[in-house]
């Protein structure tokens, strides 16, 4: 049995867990913990990933794709390099409606680029939000090179997640040529 790994990364509350949940054939194995009520994070969401999220897509009897979601908070970043080991490619999720997270998203992108010269795409998530920045503005804001794919995304919609995964796979294929 061959297993292939892709990593979904991005800042806190950018939609990584939602992304994996939308496409995984199994219930996502999540290491989410309740956030303490009086913390700032609690205003954003009730639970956060502390080690990783894990989803699976079976291709056939011999091939399985694993999706690993990284914890978004910096205090769990010791997990990032472990999760990045041997990845086929990675997706950086960005919450398009929260410019305060763009700098962090860029920093995470650079960190993962430094781990390995693996293909990646950037997903401009929450494009259904009224305050969402346009993907092309995000490209400039995050200083993403023109040759890197920056894709509109709504992580709670399966079709949108599928399109992002496909674009990453096409990128991987192009880099193999």
């Amino acid at each position: 049995m061959q297993t292939v790994k892709m990593v979904i990364t991005g800042p806190f509350s950018s939609g990584k867990t939602e992304f994996i949940k939308s496409i995984s054939e199994i219930d996502v194995v999540s290491t989410e913990r309740d956030i303490k009520e009086d913390t700032a994070e609690a205003q954003e969401k009730e639970q956060t990933t502390v080690a990783m999220d894990f989803g699976r897509i079976t291709v056939d009897d011999d091939l399985v794709l694993y999706l690993f979601g990284t914890p978004g908070q910096r205090r769990f970043d010791f997990m990032w390099e472990i999760l990045a080991e041997g990845m086929l490619g990675f997706i950086v999720m960005v919450d398009s409606a929260k410019p305060e997270t763009f700098r962090e998203a860029k920093s995470i992108l650079e960190t993962f680029r430094a781990y390995a010269p693996t293909p990646y795409v950037v997903a401009a998530n929450k494009q259904d939000h009224p305050d969402a920045w346009d993907p092309e503005d995000l490209r400039i804001a995050l200083r993403i090179e023109p040759e890197v794919k920056l894709l509109p995304c709504v992580a709670k919609e399966r079709d949108s997640v599928r399109d992002v995964l496909l674009e990453l796979l096409y990128t991987i294929l192009e880099e193999m040529d």
């Binding site: 061959q2 292939v4 800042p11 806190f12 509350s13 496409i23 700032a40 994070e41 205003q43 954003e44 897509i57 079976t58 291709v59 056939d60 091939l63 794709l65 080991e85 041997g86 086929l88 919450d95 929260k98 410019p99 305060e100 997270t101 763009f102 700098r103 962090e104 920093s107 650079e110 680029r113 430094a114 781990y115 390995a116 010269p117 009224p130 305050d131 969402a132 920045w133 346009d134 092309e136 503005d137 400039i140 804001a141 200083r143 090179e145 399966r158 599928r162 995964l165 496909l166 796979l169 096409y170 991987i172 294929l173 193999m176």
Partner: protein, 298 residues
């Protein structure tokens, strides 16, 4: 949808870069921040927009007008500030020209030989730049950019290329944290964007900036360029930040001697001789094609 955020997260220099590269037309408004008592996703105090503090207008990616709230920005005030009209002349003209638009007044002042057309253009340009350089020192404040919203037709708008403004703004950046955040890794390399000749036309660079530009090559990391030019880490960051924001260079992973892309970690290990990464054989094209077919079927 309007573009909005806080200067704390997205600086004036970065906004100018965005306007420049996306060729925007519209008005950027910066507000007084009113604490909401809530925290944002990065645990900073959330700010709601309060009173308007400044407005900056762009046309097709060029800066055309800027004003600070509470500061007179009419033509008489601008010419007075530039020393083209004395206080006494300004007071008289203001009294006589009540209700006259700036454009009509400009024609009358030129006709009466008070000022030349060049005086008006240069004074407005300088006034606009002064406002924008002032804004570049602001570290906080909600902003909102609305596409295609322009001020009254009466205002004289003088187009200013943003590249020089951005480079000058970066020279004035005293905030080391902003530089570190924007250029965290000096083991990345630099390359020129498409049509570099076109981009460098009319750009006024300092000697230090030209020294960095002369080393721009995807094989040279910023750390190597700094070393070759005897610059500190913050000096090279400040220069690269200005060049990058003005769209004159791009930051890219470095190329090895063989012309292949290497990771910044590898670039660092090549220069320090430390830290070897484990490489693994990757999946074949056949595997990737199978994955594509499977994902398509979902």
């Amino acid at each position: 949808m309007p573009l909005q955020g806080n200067l704390r997260d997205f600086s004036t220099t970065q906004l100018l870069n965005l306007m420049n590269l996306s060729g925007r037309t519209g008005t950027l408004t910066i507000f007084e921040g009113i604490p909401t008592g809530e925290k944002d996703a990065m645990q900073n105090e959330k700010m709601a927009p309060g009173e308007v503090k400044a407005k900056v207008v762009f046309k097709a990616g060029k800066l055309v007008h800027a004003l600070l709230n509470g500061q007179a920005s009419d033509l008489v005030a601008v010419l007075n500030k530039a020393g083209k009209l004395t206080d006494q002349q300004a007071a008289i003209i203001r009294e006589r020209a009540k209700g006259t638009t700036d454009k009509a007044l400009a024609v009358r002042l030129i006709g009466a030989n008070y000022v030349t057309k060049a005086d008006i253009v240069n004074s407005i340009q300088q006034y606009t730049l002064d406002v924008v350089y002032n804004l570049m020192s602001w570290r906080e404040g909600p902003f909102r950019f609305e596409d295609n919203v322009l001020p009254d037709n009466d205002i004289i708008m003088v187009p200013i290329d943003l590249e020089n403004v951005i480079v000058e703004g970066a020279r004035r950046t005293k905030n080391d944290e902003e530089l570190l955040n924007n250029i965290p890794n000096l083991d990345m390399a630099l390359k020129f964007p498409e049509n570099p000749k076109e981009k460098f036309k009319g750009i006024h660079l300092s000697v230090e900036e030209w020294r960095v530009v002369s080393f721009v090559n995807p094989k040279n990391t910023m750390r190597q360029i700094a070393k070759a030019n005897n610059m500190s880490e913050m000096e090279i960051r400040r220069i690269v930040y200005g060049l990058q924001q003005a769209g004159l260079v791009d930051i890219v992973p470095p190329l090895g001697a063989d012309g292949k892309r290497v990771t910044p970690a590898e670039a660092q290990s090549r220069s320090t001789g430390s830290r070897k990464r484990r490489t693994q054989p990757g999946p074949t094209k056949d595997v990737v094609t199978k994955l594509i077919d499977r994902i398509k079927s979902l």
